[in-house]
């Protein structure tokens, strides 16, 4: 019964309205923020949060494609962000001399980050997506840990002889005048900050375009069919592994792009930033926003990133309150009695309005 409801909400006029709404929200929010910034009404804390918010929104939209639309739990989205971030930082560092302009370099870095993350997603997906069950969850969890400890030990640098990569610090030597790109547990240091909010907002729009076009096309319907009933989908000729792979790789690529943007927003970035907790945080944005609902994902990501900042006046209690809010939202939204009351309230209002 529940499955039918969620499918119905994708169909008809509502579908168009939902798509329009999410684009409208992003564009209106972008214009509003730009006006606030130009008139100087935005404090520095919120200004510094703008790019990270766009990054997490993109990563969460990608994860929602994987968890909500494809129905596979992914506990390693931060791992893909990490791949994208360090790839983006390295690419930007290497091209700094040949392309001095920030924006084209940023775009190249984002594309490279997305491609590398997609490649990693493809390699991980091959053994896992042919299996049934929660294996993707465990393997992506393991992937996140592996990526973190690999970047903690990676030393990458560039000098007149070309690119140097080493996993042992003592073996790593650069010619004088060489440039250190990745420095083990210290991560990327001295990165030129070339990310900006406009590129982030455009990236959200591109992510939405990709995900919506996928969801409402033949392949998207195949992905949802494979989620709702694997055996029935298989029997009408849908290649399950390939459709699930499509969703997973797209999700990884979006995370990689988001990561590259994130990495180029800070002058230093440590590998520990993208740990298991970050993956879980992105999953929380997706689940609270609503599985398969991109507008909800955008809103919940923005609200949940701003919530701890808005609760700053409560000081030490803010994370405790955050945890309680999380538990209470889950309990309330899954309580059937409360939800039917809530819906009847809205139905009554709609009738009154008509």
């Amino acid at each position: 019964m529940k499955e039918k409801k969620s499918l119905l909400s994708f169909g008809g006029d509502k579908k168009q309205r939902g798509r329009f709404l999410s684009f409208a929200i992003v564009i209106i929010a972008y214009i509003a923020v730009e006006i606030l910034m130009k008139t100087g009404n935005l404090n520095s804390l919120f200004t510094s949060l703008l790019v990270p918010i766009t990054c997490y929104v993109v990563a969460a939209i990608g994860l929602n494609l994987n968890v909500g639309v494809s129905g596979e739990l992914n506990l390693g989205q931060a791992g893909f962000m990490s791949v994208g971030a360090f790839c983006g930082v390295c690419v930007s560092g290497m091209l700094a001399a040949s392309i001095p302009a920030g924006i084209p370099r940023l775009i190249i870095a984002i594309i490279c980050g997305a491609i590398l993350a997609a490649l990693f997603g493809f390699v991980i997906g091959i053994p896992v997506l042919t299996l049934q069950g929660d294996y993707l969850a465990i393997v992506t969890l393991a992937f996140g840990q592996i990526i973190k400890s690999i970047f903690m030990n990676a030393y990458i640098g560039m000098d007149s002889e070309g690119l140097h990569v080493s996993f042992v610090q003592s073996n790593f030597k650069l010619q004088p005048g060489g440039k250190m790109l990745l420095n083990g547990p210290m991560g990327a240091t001295g990165t030129q900050k070339i990310a900006n909010f406009t590129v982030g907002a455009v990236l959200i729009i591109i992510a939405l375009l990709i995900v919506y076009n996928m969801m409402f096309s033949r392949s998207g319907r195949a992905i949802m069919a494979a989620r709702d009933n694997r055996i029935a989908a298989e029997s009408v000729g849908i290649p399950i592994s390939r459709t699930k792979m499509l969703a997973f790789v797209t999700s990884a690529a979006l995370a990689g792009a988001a990561g590259a943007l994130y990495g180029l927003n800070y002058s230093t970035l440590v590998p520990n930033k993208f740990d298991f907790n970050t993956s879980i945080l992105i999953l929380v944005y997706v689940v609270l926003g609503g599985l398969g609902n991109m507008t909800g994902t955008i809103i919940s990501t923005v609200v949940l990133i701003l919530l701890p900042e808005l609760l700053r006046s409560l000081q030490d209690y803010r994370m405790l309150i955050y945890a309680v809010v999380l538990i209470v939202i889950m309990l309330v939204t899954n309580n059937e009695w409360l939800m039917t009351k809530w819906k009847s309230l809205f139905a009554g209002k709609a009738k009154g309005g008509a």
């Binding site: 992937f143 400890s149 994370m319």
Partner: protein, 291 residues
């Protein structure tokens, strides 16, 4: 003969993972949920034992008992308040709630006991015995022996007692066991109680091995023990035991022979390899789904 001492140290670390993994695997087997707050129950247990020893100067066995009592109650209360209302909800909702509980415990501990780490007193004598050329500390021996005792008791409990058979029935078919007159809610509470009690034992061993106690101390051992449970086949009690021991041995060998920093990458890499060739884990049951 470094090999032997590495092996025994690996068994020691693996025993701790095995005891924690039992909690994950039992809860998964019966309630079909990943209890991400399990690692933080370990942290609470470690703090209780720490205060029992330093503030109230209780002897070690009493401190362990106190930690067990608090953790057991905590586990049951969490289950009743946060997980029980979600019995019918989709599994992702339960997962997010468990994450919420985990945040709650970590930040609660930070508020109550501050985020700085405390040194756990060395209550287990530091000496050791020598086996041939390898020396083994008493702590490692006690850890291994504790793990074996826990395993034997738990296996007897599951296989010989009435509650144990009720638990096995619930893990196979909740609906059918309800029809047979088993109080399923009660059984789930008992499972959480046992898992949390075991977490308290593990917490004392863990805090004595790395002698420090801090609010996020449970998360990494929690993830590793969860990996161990998957390794051995989630839902299987002997699987958690084997998986925990193997994980400990692999970790210590990777640290000793390959690289200290890359040991985590190696442990999780082995997990991926095992899942590729044996998707249900080492001792997991293969479930055939009929159309």
């Amino acid at each position: 003969m470094q090999f032997l001492s590495y092996l025994i140290n690996g068994l020691g670390l693996g025993s701790v993972y095995a005891i924690i993994a039992l909690g994950y695997t039992m809860v998964y087997g019966i309630a079909k949920m990943l209890n991400f707050a399990h690692g933080d129950i370990i942290m609470v247990g470690a703090y209780i034992a720490f205060f029992a020893i330093t503030k109230f100067s209780l002897p070690l066995p009493l401190a362990v008992l106190a930690a067990m009592a608090v953790c057991t109650v905590l586990g049951v209360v969490i289950e009743r308040l946060a997980y029980k209302p979600l019995r019918q909800a989709p599994s992702l909702a339960v997962l997010i709630t468990a994450i919420g509980v985990s945040y709650f415990l970590q930040n609660g501990a930070q508020l109550l006991w501050s985020s700085s780490s405390k040194v756990f007193p060395s209550v287990i004598s530091t000496g050791g015995i020598s086996l041939g050329s390898a020396s083994v500390s008493y702590l490692t021996l006690i850890t291994i022996v504790t793990c074996i005792i826990v395993m034997v008791c738990l296996t007897l409990f599951i296989n010989k007692t009435k509650t144990g058979s009720a638990m096995r029935a619930c893990s196979e078919d909740k609906g059918a066991s309800m029809l047979m007159g088993i109080n399923v809610n009660m059984i789930i509470s008992i499972t959480f109680a046992i898992g949390s009690g075991l977490a308290a034992i593990a917490s004392v061993l863990l805090a004595s091995t790395y002698p420090s106690v801090y609010p996020t101390m449970g998360s990494m051992p929690g993830i590793k023990a969860f990996t161990a449970a998957v390794f051995g086949g989630i839902g299987s009690i002997p699987g958690a035991f084997v998986g925990g021991l193997l994980l400990g041995i692999i970790e210590i060998f990777a640290k000793a022979y390959i690289s200290t920093q890359l040991s985590d990458a190696i442990v999780f890499g082995v997990l991926i390899l095992i899942l590729m060739f044996k998707p249900t884990g080492l001792l997991g049951k293969k479930i055939n789904v009929k159309v």
